[in-house]
Symmetry: C2
Subunit: 125 residues, 2 copies
Amino acid sequence: MNDGSCFHNLKAGGIVRELAPGVTARVFPGVNAMLSVVTLEPHSTSPVHSHANEQWGVCLEGEWVRIQDGVEHHVKAGDFWQTPPHVPHGGRTLASRCVVLDIFAPPREEYRQAGQGLGAASLAT
Amino acid sequence: MNDGSCFHNLKAGGIVRELAPGVTARVFPGVNAMLSVVTLEPHSTSPVHSHANEQWGVCLEGEWVRIQDGVEHHVKAGDFWQTPPHVPHGGRTLASRCVVLDIFAPPREEYRQAGQGLGAASLAT
């Protein structure tokens, strides 16, 4: 359902951002938090980066290699994780598609508009 | 998976709180946000209440009648919603069990400890 205000569905809507090749987000901004439904195509890479915003991720479909603080975690649907502020994180898919719900608190201000890339995050070097 | 730190699974763990009869939460506190996996038994009621914390809910399993700002919304798995600060909200299940992922930003401080009830929320009168 989507009545145009506070009610949405994970499958539709949101502000579209291409975070990386094959990694697309649909963003739903709030006041103190922001939700982002991220679809990751097979064999795609999310560059390791960091930001001051706390982040949580919930694997909704498929599986993913979550890279966090230099460690690889093989996560599957139903797994979820906290990424504290400033902790470097990214990931890569395997042979299948993956869907992850990201939660940012506070919101990532750059993600309030459609566009490309990881916004003001610091990329790992 | 659960490595004892930042990685969890929706089916296990967390700080247990009984929010209302038949409504049980497993709470995962963060810095700026808090996640809570809420299991609602059939024919259970979540009393309408409000608080300053922004809240988001994601219906993970089943269906629910979400009551928000005086309006009833019949939500199903895959639906999600924002509840802005101070907006009265609650709900009731129908004949089946429902699982909802609640997200609070900032965290509800009372929910950092096991216990009962809706904490410092204001109940509707």
